[in-house]
Subunit: 183 residues, 2 copies
Amino acid sequence: MIPLYILGLLMRFGPQHGYRIKKLMEEQLEDFTQIKLPTVYYHLEKMEAAGLITAQRDKQGERTEKTVYLVSNGGIDKFKELLQQTLQIQYRPTFDIDGTLYFSDSLDRGALTDSLSRHVSSLKKTLDELELHRNATMVHIPEDCKISANIIFEHHILHYQAELTWAEQAWKLLKEDEAYGKS
Amino acid sequence: MIPLYILGLLMRFGPQHGYRIKKLMEEQLEDFTQIKLPTVYYHLEKMEAAGLITAQRDKQGERTEKTVYLVSNGGIDKFKELLQQTLQIQYRPTFDIDGTLYFSDSLDRGALTDSLSRHVSSLKKTLDELELHRNATMVHIPEDCKISANIIFEHHILHYQAELTWAEQAWKLLKEDEAYGKS
DNA sequence: ATAATAATAGTCAGTACTGACTAAAGTGAA
DNA sequence: TTCACTTTAGTCAGTACTGACTATTATTAT
């Protein structure tokens, strides 16, 4: 997905340094990618080698020069190809916490329910923040992207809510089982 | 997470070949990890080097010998440590399809809604299969793990349902916008 | 018995990712 | 104006992962 993001951002916001691309990702895509800066540079180099983007040394006065990247014609084609391609992707999540649960018989039952209730509070907090963040972010989003940006926020909110529902339900089941196991 | 899974499975089902560990993962953990066989071997080697497990050459008769791994004392400690550690993990999903959506102004609107309705059907199918799979898998799960196994299945089901709700809602919004845009 | 196919048990080289680091330019406060 | 702190702009070495491959043993169909 990262080359798609890079190409898309370069096309939407014009030529940028690697660092600015990363900043744009945070500003624009923060809630749906958590890529790190060195990874951006890694892909920029690969993409330049593949002829998708062109590097230009950006020297102003006496400053040490920096590298600005811009999309080439091949990059535009690749962008469309990637966009088509990613439409095919399947939803198939994995949840790290499931591993812990599967082996939870090795774990003190109290630690597990405690952890789940921390999870519940954390999710509630995140949901609140997400609402705030939606408002804050929307300001930076170009007008014609607002519909999709909203759909993306909805996406996250629905999944956080699902996670919350699940965590509360799981907590309850484990508590009941605990009570039953003791009797 | 993988070392946790490997240690847990070796403790629960006794010493195994790398290949069998992978099979157990499919049987027991299929719906919450999608690790590949070479990755299992990679971790087995690392874990042996770290003294968490011990390799034993398993030679029966004239056959070429194979390697069986068993958990060492250090491994038991590490398992408990990892279990504690993974209790802290935060839920923070990313969805590849969001990238496509964010750049969907470069995309034919019909292609997008088509893709979303394919997504909807695919999710419905997956939800049905998940129900079937739950029944099929439960047979292989040790009695004392059934509660947690069920909670794990619920986890997946709730998120698939959330994804379904979202996809249907997104499809509707885009269709409405399309109609509005035309008028 | 035997040829074909599937399951078992790996190896290895190449790709992807990132923590920890460097270093310059800007900023603000005393 | 200079010291401390933040932001910008990157590099590099090491870790994690896996596609594509090999090779042996089991099963099944003929």
